[in-house]
Amino acid sequence: MESKGLILVVDDDPDIVATSRIILEGNGYEVHTASNGKEALSLLSRVKPDLMLLDVMMASDTEGFDLAFKLKEDPEFKDLPIIMLTAFLEKVRTEGAGPFEYILGEQWPVEWLFEKPLDTKKLLARIEAIFKAKKIVPSG
């Protein structure tokens, strides 16, 4: 089957990585995975994903955001769409950048933020929408 696009899933929870892979592959995407920011960076030097699913809290509380900011400053990856996932939306809401809607403002390096557990339908719809907007041509 022709891949609809290449997605990089970065999460330190192996269950989330595994299920995301199943769901995404089941919906026609090609998936690469990494379990932390460092691994993700080294993977990025080899593969060019069309989108990244990124967990916020990994080894450190903000590892995901750190990686996202780093990529936005990198000319090669600044246009890589990122969807952030967190089991800890409360923290982002109360301590990070205030209410949810502001999180998606310009200053945030992500396209969208989803709370875990994921609503698969919404996630897939969001990915479709981003790909459509970016006119990502299916690779392979």
Partner: protein, 621 residues
């Protein structure tokens, strides 16, 4: 007397005496005019005498009075300010009166004229207000002047002046012996008056002095009391350690009327003393912030519990910072240990530019103040510890929340993959049990979320100063729930009149309150029903009404509605995830914001929750 007059707290009694020194100036205008009228009256009655010397004397008196008035009445307050001024004011008046009296006495027949008795008035005046010596000197001058006049008349150097009435001389030229007798009597009476009035005034002055001292003591006492009260107040209201100490040292310096005060605190290992707060001291001194106790015998002694006082900082024991102190021109210092429950935690110091400033009384008061400062300190430290603990607790709860939610999220993801058939077909029975598993996991997730919310609200009890715009609230609640309501085919409406004032509380807090109410309403309203949120202004509050056409709440369950983990019987019977925490959180938030909440419900018909939230205080400049 000078000491009393110069004492800073000169009081009313003494002030009145001073005011008295001004009174003759006012009387003199009328006395002069009265005398003039008497002279004219005498002339009209047929008395024969040269009128011009009397008129001149009166004019002199008036002129003198004008000069005195203009010299001394430059301020609004007519009282003399100093002993010197009082002396001058009284002396000038006595001199003017004396000269005028001498003139009218001489022109009305010489020293034995009845008008000579007038001299008793200035004598009395002088002896009441000026020291005894001055009064006697004044008597001497008056008597000498009269004696010389009598001699001059006797030897023919001055002509005898007479007043005639009906041809008879009113005061005939007297025999020298008679003149002498008269002067003797006048002198005795004058000196007697001076002595009596002088001693009475002297007693009075002493009493005023005593009273003054008493008042000064009382003022000092009251100032100290006030300062103690102020320190106590600070203990109660200020929680920041540094500010408590800053306030305390400023208070202490103020009440003791000294240049500066400082607090040094002992490190936990008792090896170092650090300047924590200072008032009125040069920066260079504070910047040498740390003192090693072992290398400072002076500080060591104080820490061992002994207060230290010196009136000469150049003394040997002050070698440690004598130089800095003399550079700041400080001469007296006083250090007492800060004791807390028998343990020394630091040193309180006072610094003064005057030498030998601190006596036993000051040391005693200072120890008392040190006790209060120590309590304030402990209080602030305790508060700091509580705050830190509360932050740590929040952080801990956050961590717990994340660690509880992460595995649940993983579990739900796996369940979804299986149920959605990604791993192969699932039969109906399997699917049913997986659905049950999914529901239990989601209940647990909701519980974790709401427990976290509850604990967070309890921590946030402190001042909710923020304000929330109802319009923003309405917009957000509409957006949050419109999809969910549509999914269940429930009509969902948010009704907001224009121009509602802001309500008290942070947006997230108030939003959580409303979200819980609306989420319940949608949850327990069957398909095709309706849920409505109405905002309105009511009596200093904003009224938020959430009504539904749901299953209602049984009457028996209503009293327990707002308790944690409680779920109404009919709610439990429904296949909906609920934790029994939603309304407990609502109640918690309403109480915290100072609002009220009511409900009305009929089983099978619907439920209305009405929350009244206080309007946010208008921002003050």
């Amino acid at each position: 007397m000078a000491a009393v007059v110069q004492s800073p707290d000169l009081r009313a009694a003494w002030g009145e005496l001073h005011e008295f020194s001004w009174r003759p100036v006012r009387i003199r205008w009328w006395a002069a005019l009265g005398f003039l009228a008497a002279v004219l009256g005498m002339r009209a009655a047929g008395a024969v005498f040269p009128a011009w010397p009397f008129v001149l004397a009166v004019l002199f008196l008036l002129a003198g009075n004008i000069v005195i008035y203009r010299t001394f009445a430059r301020r609004k307050d007519l009282r003399p300010r100093s002993a010197r001024e009082l002396h001058q004011l009284v002396s000038w008046q006595a001199a003017v009166d004396g000269i005028a009296l001498w003139a009218v006495t001489y022109w009305s027949g010489g020293v034995i004229s009845p008008l000579a008795a007038g001299f008793l008035l200035p004598v009395l005046f002088v002896s009441l207000l000026l020291p005894a010596r001055t009064a006697y000197a004044y008597c001497g001058i008056v008597l000498s002047a009269l004696g010389l006049t009598a001699l001059a008349e006797l030897w023919g150097w001055l002509p005898h002046q007479s007043v005639y009435f009906n041809g008879a001389e009113l005061v005939p030229a007297a025999h020298p012996l008679r003149t002498l007798t008269f002067l003797g009597v006048l002198g005795t009476v004058a000196l007697g008056t001076a002595a009596l009035a002088g001693s009475a005034t002297c007693t009075f002055r002493r009493q005023v002095q005593d009273l003054d001292r008493l008042r000064e003591t009382e003022a000092v006492f009251s100032r100290r009391l006030q300062s103690i009260f102020s320190i106590l107040e600070t203990i109660g209201s200020v929680r920041d350690l540094h500010r408590v100490l800053e306030t305390a040292v400023a208070e202490v310096a103020g009440v003791m009327q000294v240049k500066g005060a400082s607090v040094k605190l002992l490190s936990d290992d008792c090896k170092f003393l650090r300047y924590e707060a200072a008032f009125g001291l040069p920066d260079t001194m504070i910047q040498e912030k740390v003192v090693e106790v072992e290398r400072s015998p002076l500080n060591k002694r104080i820490i061992e519990g002994e207060p230290f006082v010196t009136g000469q900082v150049t003394a040997r024991e002050m070698f440690q910072f004598g130089e800095t102190l003399s550079a700041a021109r400080i001469q007296s210092v006083l250090f007492v240990p800060l004791n807390l429950q028998g343990r020394v935690i630091g040193i309180l110091g006072a610094y003064c530019e005057k030498p030998d400033r601190f006596g036993v009384e000051e040391v005693n008061f200072f120890r008392l103040a040190a006790g209060l400062v120590a309590v304030a300190l402990e209080n602030a430290r305790a508060y700091e510890a509580v705050t830190t603990m509360s932050h740590e607790r929040t952080w801990f709860m956050m961590k717990v929340a994340h660690n509880l939610r992460a595995p649940l999220a993983g579990m739900l993801s796996i369940l979804e993959v299986v149920r959605d058939g990604y791993l192969g077909p699932v039969n109906d029975d399997q699917n049913e049990y997986l659905r049950r598993l999914d529901r239990r996991a989601r209940t647990m997730l909701a519980l974790v979320n709401e427990l976290m919310a509850l604990s967070r609200n309890r921590q946030r009890r402190e001042a909710e100063v923020a304000a929330t715009e109802p319009a923003m609230l309405a917009r957000r609640v509409q957006r949050t729930f419109q999809d969910k309501a549509a999914e269940k085919r429930i009509t969902f409406q948010v009704n907001l009149p224009p121009d509602l004032p802001e309500v008290r509380g942070r947006l997230e807090t108030v939003e959580q309150l409303l979200e819980n109410l609306v989420s319940n309403a949608i949850k327990y309203t069957p398909a095709e029903g309706s849920v409505e949120v109405r905002f309105a202004r009511a009596n200093g509050t904003v009224r938020i009404e959430v009504s539904d056409t749901g299953i209602g709440i049984p009457a028996a369950d209503r009293p327990k509605l707002f308790t944690e983990f409680f779920r109404a019987e009919n709610a439990k019977a429904m296949d909906e995830i609920g934790t029994g925490l939603g309304l407990a959180i609502v109640k918690e938030i309403v109480d915290q914001l100072g609002g009220r909440i009511f409900m009305e419900s009929e089983e099978g018909v619907g439920t209305i929750f009405v929350a009244h939230l206080p309007i946010a205080a208008a921002p003050t400049g």
